[in-house]
Symmetry: C2
């Protein structure tokens, strides 16, 4: 099969829209789509300082690569979760990716700054629950302490569609109010954006391969990934029967998201007595969980 735009051999067959593309035209298509996503949802300006959260996986690597290529001012942050082999490999990939991309990489190792890795803390809470809390806090505080205007994550179309499907099956209307490619900044919460929002997982994999990005395929050993994988499999089945299902589902959601907003309780946030970041109680969930008496300072000397 030939590329739609030139006479070269097709690298990939896209289903929505339906077309064959050679590797160069696919790369172009992908990057244009990211740029249009950024413009359509007003995610970033070229003069903003962007922190890209790099996990070692494909989505965040591709996010950093494309943002850099499109001319955005990026630096990368890798949070080493202290989960044995998995974290060793993740950090290795993060380093290799940023070297290829040519962007500065900052590394924060949980074990070093908090004394324990994820999964090593004596608590009844499952690892995944305090892992998310920890990653989000560190990402935000790192961005805040260093004057970043935005945090970019690697969430793609499949991630959003499965998030929506799962939360609709359970009618978690508070979560449903908070989807979308843009979480505006608020006080000490730095703006968060998802540049890969309109690209499917399959397209992200194809792009990483096309540009030579290597990444860690394996899942975190603690991953309660089962639900997400099931949702993604279901959506892939629906997509195969009716190409465009994921996209219309997500776009339709964005138009109707406001219906769920009435369900969100507006909470008055204080400042954490330890770290000064937003908190519902005297001490924020992060400082409380990790038993901090002093705030973590992520300011990088330049």
């Amino acid at each position: 099969m030939k590329c739609k735009f030139c006479s070269r051999e097709a690298y990939i067959k896209l289903h929505y829209p339906k077309m064959y593309l050679c590797v160069d035209h696919f790369i172009e298509y992908f990057e244009r789509k990211v740029q249009r996503t950024i413009e359509r949802y007003k995610l970033l300006n070229k003069d903003e300082k962007v922190l890209v959260a790099i996990s070692g996986g494909k989505d965040s690597a591709v996010t950093a690569y494309v943002l850099n290529k499109l001319g955005y001012n990026i630096e990368c942050l890798h949070i080493n979760l202290g989960i044995g082999e998995y974290s060793l490999k993740s950090e290795e990939f993060a380093k290799r990716q940023c070297k290829l991309i040519g962007a500065p990489l900052h590394i924060v190792r949980i074990k070093e700054i908090l004394g324990h890795g994820i999964g090593e803390v004596r608590t009844r809470r499952p690892p995944c629950s305090y892992c998310g809390l920890t990653k989000r806090y560190i990402m935000n505080k790192f961005a805040y302490d260093n004057g970043f205007d935005a945090i970019a994550t690697g969430h793609n179309l499949d991630d959003e569609a499965s998030f929506l499907l799962n939360n609709l099956l359970h009618w978690n209307t508070e979560y449903l109010a908070k989807g979308g490619p843009l979480l505006p900044g608020e006080g000490k919460f730095v703006k968060k954006v998802k540049p890969l929002y309109e690209l499917t997982e399959r397209e992200v994999v194809a792009y990483a391969l096309a540009v030579g990005l290597e990444y860690l395929v394996e899942e975190c050993p603690h991953a309660r990934g089962a639900t997400t994988l099931d949702m993604k499999a279901i959506l892939n089945e629906l997509e195969e029967k009716r190409p465009g299902t994921k996209f219309t589902f997500v776009r339709g959601y964005l138009r109707k998201r406001k219906l769920f907003e009435v369900e969100v309780e507006k909470k008055e946030l204080k400042e954490c007595k330890v770290c000064g970041m937003p908190s519902s109680g005297e001490i924020c969930a992060f400082c409380k969980f990790w038993g901090l008496k002093e705030p973590l300072d992520f300011k990088v000397s330049r």
Copy 2:
């Protein structure tokens, strides 16, 4: 495997809740569930006159059978759609079912009263679209002309779950506002109820078999059933992995349905100049489509 409640051999394994039941205890379980559904959602009183729409299929047959057994005052209506062999067989099954049940059966044949069967009308509209319009109109007018307090249909849990899933994937919020087991009566619109609302398709099939109800398995030849079948297949996959998915999905919907109600435009309805039934225009959609100059009168002489 033995029945949970007695020593007899199991007839069926239920998954939510998880238990094996012999045929008699299954029949009891099923009928209790219908009665609880009627009570929980305030669908019917014992002194109401109920019209059960009988298609020849399993769901409506089981609905009529159980309502009759539970002591409700029912009569059945079969609408022969004039679709060749399919309608011949449907009418046959409807007659046999009502004979077994011991309930009066009224038959309305579209070809006789309107001159054409579904699919024989010269129109650009697909058969399914005017079929639905026609069935709903005739059901309602028959019920209204004969003083019925409610119309009961055979919609089951799988039907509702797939209706919700499909309309959520497309964000058809107007439809999403109108789900549920009860459509209250309004003016000349007779109340509509779904007694099988909490029972799965699989349970309905098992009940029909258990009580010896025979029914037409084949789909209407015009059936655009593909979407519904796909949704049901998807939901069955989810249910298999996590038993109870359909039920929590539908119950959660009922709690949150009000969120979609803001999207419904309240339309002022007039009375159709031909038939006097509710209409958005001078002439109602039914009389308009079928080109009626005189109203159809369904009053049955007694």
